[in-house]
Structure formats: structure tokens, C-alpha cells
């Protein structure tokens, strides 16, 4: 019985990880350039600024998308089961967490200072952020796989 998988091939995951590495390199170089530019940060230039906007926004999202939607090297039904469970946890995390935070923000508008609410909302907006959700998903999924691999070692002979 052949099953059709909607996941991308494993090579796409490798490409995604390389892209994330490239983003890390861009971040480091941007920090170095900004530090050296100092008060003359405006001199960085439009081209460089656009390049880094591309590197900080577009590339990470593409990389995370490739990694999350790609097959593992060994993809079977148990791995798919762990994947589904990880997605469920992330949905709960993003949806319920965002809902609770919005409710708390609505409550705190009346009770807290505007500055506190503003700062709170600044951090709360990260909850439904797609990059954060993707990272949480990867932490749960890859973490579960890693823990299972450790547990199964030396227990199967």
C-alpha cells in the first residue's frame, strides 16, 4: 500500500539548515558592520540595509518553512505520529496562549499603566509569530526524536 506524503524531500531540510546558517552569518556581519559604523550608521547604505532586511526577514522564514515541511531521513508512521503531536502542541501554544494574553491585555488595560500594557503587548505579539511557532515546533519535534533515540539505545539487543 503506497502512501502519498505531502512532505518535501529530506534534501529540502538540509537546504533549510544551510540557509539558517547563512542567516546566522549575516546577523554576525551586520552586528560587526553596525558596530563599526557607530554614529555613522546611516552610512551603511540602502543596498546593504535592503540586503540585511532580506536576510533577517525573508531567508529565516523560507529556511524554517523548508525545515518544518521536510521529511526526516527515516520517515515512518511513528515519526509521523510524533510530528502530528508536535503540531498539535504548537497550535495549542499559539492559539490558546495568544487568546489568554489578549484577554489579560484587555483586563490589564483597566488596571495597569499604559506603559506596562504597551511593553506587555510588545512581548505578547511574539506568541502567534510564525517564526516563533516554527522554532517551538522544531524544538518539540526534534527534541522528542532525540530523547527517543537516547532511550532506545542499548535497549534493543
Amino acid at each position: 500500500m503506497e502512501k502519498k506524503s505531502f512532505l518535501l524531500p529530506h534534501c529540502c531540510q538540509i537546504i533549510g539548515w544551510w540557509l539558517l546558517g547563512l542567516v546566522a552569518v549575516l546577523c554576525i556581519t551586520f552586528v560587526i558592520i553596525s558596530y563599526n559604523a557607530g554614529a555613522g550608521a546611516a552610512e551603511v547604505g540602502d543596498f546593504t540595509r535592503n540586503l540585511y532586511a532580506f536576510g533577517f526577514y525573508f531567508l529565516p522564514n523560507i529556511a524554517l518553512l523548508l525545515i518544518c515541511l521536510s521529511r526526516e531521513k527515516e520517515e515512518d508512521e511513528y515519526i509521523s505520529f510524533i510530528r502530528s503531536r508536535s503540531v498539535f502542541i504548537v497550535v495549542v501554544f499559539g492559539f490558546v496562549g495568544g487568546m489568554l494574553l489578549s484577554a489579560f491585555a484587555g483586563y490589564s488595560f483597566r488596571m495597569m499603566s499604559a506603559e506596562f500594557v504597551g511593553r506587555f503587548m510588545m512581548y505578547a505579539q511574539w506568541f502567534p509569530n510564525r517564526a516563533v511557532l516554527a522554532i517551538v515546533y522544531l524544538l518539540i519535534f526534534k527534541g522528542t526524536l532525540f530523547v527517543n533515540k537516547l532511550k532506545s539505545r542499548g535497549n534493543g539487543e
Partner: protein, 66 residues
Amino acid sequence: MENNLRVERAIKRISQAQLAEAIGVSRQTIFAIENNKFVPSTELALRLSAYFGKTVNELFWLTDGK
């Protein structure tokens, strides 16, 4: 649900890795099934029963005795 996969594997003197390779799944899957952490699909259960030369009911059973 429980199973005696570990016993059958010991009778055949094969490791989890060898069984996994023969069935076409990962070693983690075999480990999870043996430790009742994961219920295999019908297809996987049939493959395991065919490999060991047993029926599915001889390999897997419900814990409430039904």
C-alpha cells in the same frame, strides 16, 4: 494494547535494528511498539506478523482481555 514482539524477536535472535530494517521502519518505531508507547497501523502489524510467521492476534492483544 500489549504485544510480545520482544519475546518473538528474542526467539529469532535478532536486534531491534535488524527487525526495523527488515520491516522497513526505524528502530525507534520498534522500540516504541515493544514498550507500548505506540500502536502500529494495520499495515505494520500485518508486516510484523508476516515476518514472524504468526497471526496478528498472536502478536498483539487488548489489555482488557477482549
